[in-house]
Amino acid sequence: MKVLVPVKRVIDYNVKPRVKADGTGVDLANVKMSMNPFDEIAVEEAIRLKEKGVATEIVVVSIGVAKAQETLRTALAMGADRAILVQTDDEVEPLAVAKILKTIATEEAPGLVILGKQAIDDDANQTGQMLAALLGWGQGTFASKVEVSGETVAVTREVDGGLETVSLKLPAIVTTDLRLNEPRYASLPNIMKAKSKPLATKTPADLGVEIASRLKTLKVTEPPKRSAGIKVADVDELVARLKEMAI
């Protein structure tokens, strides 16, 4: 079984993002960029499936600027087999990403597509769900456990009330949550090998997908600074205050 894993190049989770002075977006000039942490978990899960003999090939896909090649190489160094870069300098919204992935999934015919539940830059949490709808495949989102047996996959999901397990017919879509696994460090020999693993570059046009934005960003601002809290003398005052604030 083939596993397809989309990975996104995002601002590193350790970096404190700065908003551009003109309010048009986040300043990315010379900022450290890394693989979206949820996608790392997705790559790790695919590698574990391969190590268990369930998966036979792992294909990673990234949609974005030429530099996203670095992110793909990171995935290859972790243990993915080959990579596809769909190169564009434009902003690509979740729906367009899902359409691109649909085309690739149709071509590659994977048994599973494992995505991060969301990317830490726009926190959209939409792509996996949209992809499932476009393909008409089952979806197990927010996975904390993934077990493939025969033609089905059991996905344990982290839902508000606790854990829920769904059983999906393959092929299926899985999106990862934080507790699914702990991604490995790439080993030195694998980093070296990654250099010679195949990486194909395409454009959205090659795939026949229109990526024009449907949303317009009006303004990007920093979140308001947290204001200082207040101290209350006793429980009565606390209750009074809470009532005042209509909580």
């Binding site: 010379n30 670095e70 190489r73 160094a77 460090y185 030195l188 020999p189 694998n190 070296m192 250099k195």
Partner: protein
């Protein structure tokens, strides 16, 4: 707080941009290591260091090592981290692919070493010594020894040590007493007591391979009578796995000022079976193969700690609010300004930063020479590289470690009273850095090596490998323009170095004590000139980048500002060194011994 993140941008700068024209580069054997690949390696190493090695640095310092019934236990987390480190292939980084190594250029390897030492100096010693031991075995061991030991040491499954020091001899190894008796089957029985043996015993690997200096029965007195032996903790069985124990015992571990998570062991060898590495009586030469790479690495250890200290101080200086800027409040919304506004705090931060960037630039140059010496197809380049390494090894070892201790000390000062308190994490840097000035040949001995052995070698040929590029740079760039003040300052310091060289050489001919009296100041002077040269080159490159509108304005702009600080506020120390050298030994030796 220990907050280290590898300075990847500066590392890429010294690796790919700064020394591109030094005549050591373009080595066909290393052409596969393109910047995108070395970037990926540095990034992953940085992540590993930050996430795995850094979190056990302070806890390892608090806990230290334990000796129970002859068995040494490293602090919590070390065995697990070592396992991950070896599994990740990091022990094999710079080793020869013939033995399972990755064959990475030294230029990359040294940067990774720096990161490891910044994150956890104690940890770094375990794989560091193993790597040193493999170079000695590779250079001087028999094929049988290489086959039996190198693959397991390179993979990190087994570790290595160097056993030189004995209670009565550290610097003066000619006094050493351990003995080795031939058994007629090619093996020897080694007996003796060694002290201060780093990684002599621990719980990270299934076997430990000691390289032991000892005397054969008929050996002459002094260093000429010393041979090198390989003595495993467990003798390998037929199938190569560790078998019977070999009479090697750890009698005690030292309680030290710092470097607490590295086990410093008193080792007893009692009729332990060993094999000769290299020829009888040539033990010092074989050991020096190891010592020379190790000395550069100890310099890097210093740089590593210096960088970590700087980062901790810079973080604190932005966080701690105390007092107001002399020019009036700069952060009026806060109760006080962060201490980074104060000129004296700036002085400390800039000094540390300039030391680290200067040392990193110089070590990158030396590392390129290490690669060229090994791999360059041209004999002339290999020779020049080898000359340059011989000259710079004592400078890198002593200068970097001296400056590292200064940096760690300044970091404590930046933290005020909190720096003196364990929880802050910075006093550990001062304690850890301190040993790097002592082991692997004290810094005093490094200075003697430079002045006594390296200056005059081959009629000054070693010196030329350094003086030629510096004078060519000065000549080429001493023109009107923004670089002029820097080039003039460099020329002045370089002039002082040339003059001092002549003075020392002349006086030493008549009186060897003059060489000894000048040595430490001479080494410092050469180090300052070497850093100055690197900073001037860096400024030129950065200036061009800014002129052509580089996207990375922040980095190049900071590089020029740091270089300017170095030239205006640190390089003037060259004059002080020059004057001290000029004064000669007289006042130094004047007081009678019994007056002390």
């Amino acid at each position: 707080m220990q907050v280290y993140d590898a300075p990847l941008r500066d590392m890429r700068f010294v690796l790919n941009e700064l020394h591109a024209d030094d005549g050591f580069g373009d080595i066909p054997a290393l052409s596969e290591f393109t910047p995108d690949l070395t970037d990926a390696i540095l990034e992953e190493a940085a992540r590993f260091c930050r996430d795995v090695l850094l979190p056990i640095n302070r806890s390892g310092d608090e806990e230290g090592c334990h000796l129970e019934n002859g068995v040494v236990r490293t602090p919590a987390g070390f065995a697990q981290a070592y396992k991950q480190f070896a599994e990740g292939g990091w022990t094999a980084l710079a080793s020869d692919p013939e033995w399972g190594g990755q064959g990475l250029p030294e230029a990359v390897n040294k940067l990774v070493e720096e990161m490891i030492c910044s994150s956890n100096l104690s940890f770094g010693l375990y794989p560091g010594l193993t790597h040193g031991a493999t170079t000695a075995i590779e250079g001087h061991g028999s094929d049988a020894l290489k086959q039996a030991y190198l693959p397991k040491m390179v993979s990190g499954q087994w570790s290595g040590t160097m056993c030189l020091t004995e209670p009565h001899c550290g610097t003066d190894l000619g006094l050493l007493r351990s003995r080795a008796v031939p058994q007629g089957d090619g093996s020897y029985k080694v007996t003796g007591s060694k002290i201060f043996i780093s990684a002599g015993e621990h719980d990270l690997t299934e076997n430990i391979i000691h390289l032991v200096l000892a005397r054969l029965p008929d050996a002459p007195k002094g260093v000429k009578g010393i041979s090198l032996f390989l003595v495993p903790k467990y003798l390998p069985k037929e199938d190569g796995t560790p078998g019977q124990s070999n009479g090697v015992a750890c009698a005690a571990i030292e309680h030290k000022m710092g470097l607490k998570a590295s086990a410093t062991c008193q080792m007893n060898f009692d009729d332990s079976t060993g094999w000769l590495v290299g020829e009888p009586g040539k033990g010092m030469a074989a050991m020096f193969t190891m010592m020379n790479t190790e000395r550069v690495s100890v310099g890097i250890q210093g740089l590593g700690v210096g960088e970590a200290a700087y980062q901790a101080a810079a973080w604190y200086a932005k966080d701690r609010i105390q007092g107001r800027a002399l020019s009036g409040p700069k952060y009026p919304e806060q109760a006080a300004d962060p201490i980074i506004v104060h000129p004296d705090v700036r002085r400390m931060l800039m000094t540390m930063r300039a030391y680290n960037e200067g040392c990193r630039a110089l070590s990158a140059w030396v590392s390129r020479a290490l690669d060229a010496e090994k791999h360059s197809p041209e004999p002339e380049v290999r020779q020049r590289a080898s000359d340059f390494i011989a000259l710079m090894t004592p400078v890198v070892k002593a200068l970097f470690t001296d400056l590292a201790f200064d940096s760690a000390n300044l970091a404590v000062q930046c933290y005020g009273g909190h720096g003196y308190i364990r929880e802050s994490g910075v006093e550990q840097y001062a304690r850890d850095a301190r040993i790097t000035m002592i082991y692997e040949g004290t810094n005093g001995v490094q200075a003697l090596d430079l002045v006594g052995r390296k200056l005059g070698a081959h009629m000054g040929r070693y010196l030329r490998s350094f003086f030629h590029p510096v004078s060519a740079f000065i000549e080429e760039n001493n023109v009107d323009g923004p670089m002029k003040p820097m080039v003039e300052a460099l020329a002045k310091a370089f002039g002082a170095l040339q003059l001092s060289t002549a003075t020392v050489a002349q006086r030493a001919l008549k009186d060897p004590e003059e060489a000894g009296a000048a040595s430490a100041d001479y080494l410092r002077l050469m180090g300052l000139v070497a850093m100055g040269y690197c900073f001037a080159k860096a400024t030129k490159i950065a200036g061009l980048q800014l002129f052509f509108g580089s996207e990375d304005k922040r980095f190049y702009d900071a590089k020029i500002k740091t270089a300017t600080f170095f030239f205006e506020r640190i390089l003037p120390q060259a004059t002080a060194s020059f004057l001290a050298i000029k004064a000669g030994k007289k006042s130094l030796m004047a007081l009678e011994d019994d007056v002390f």
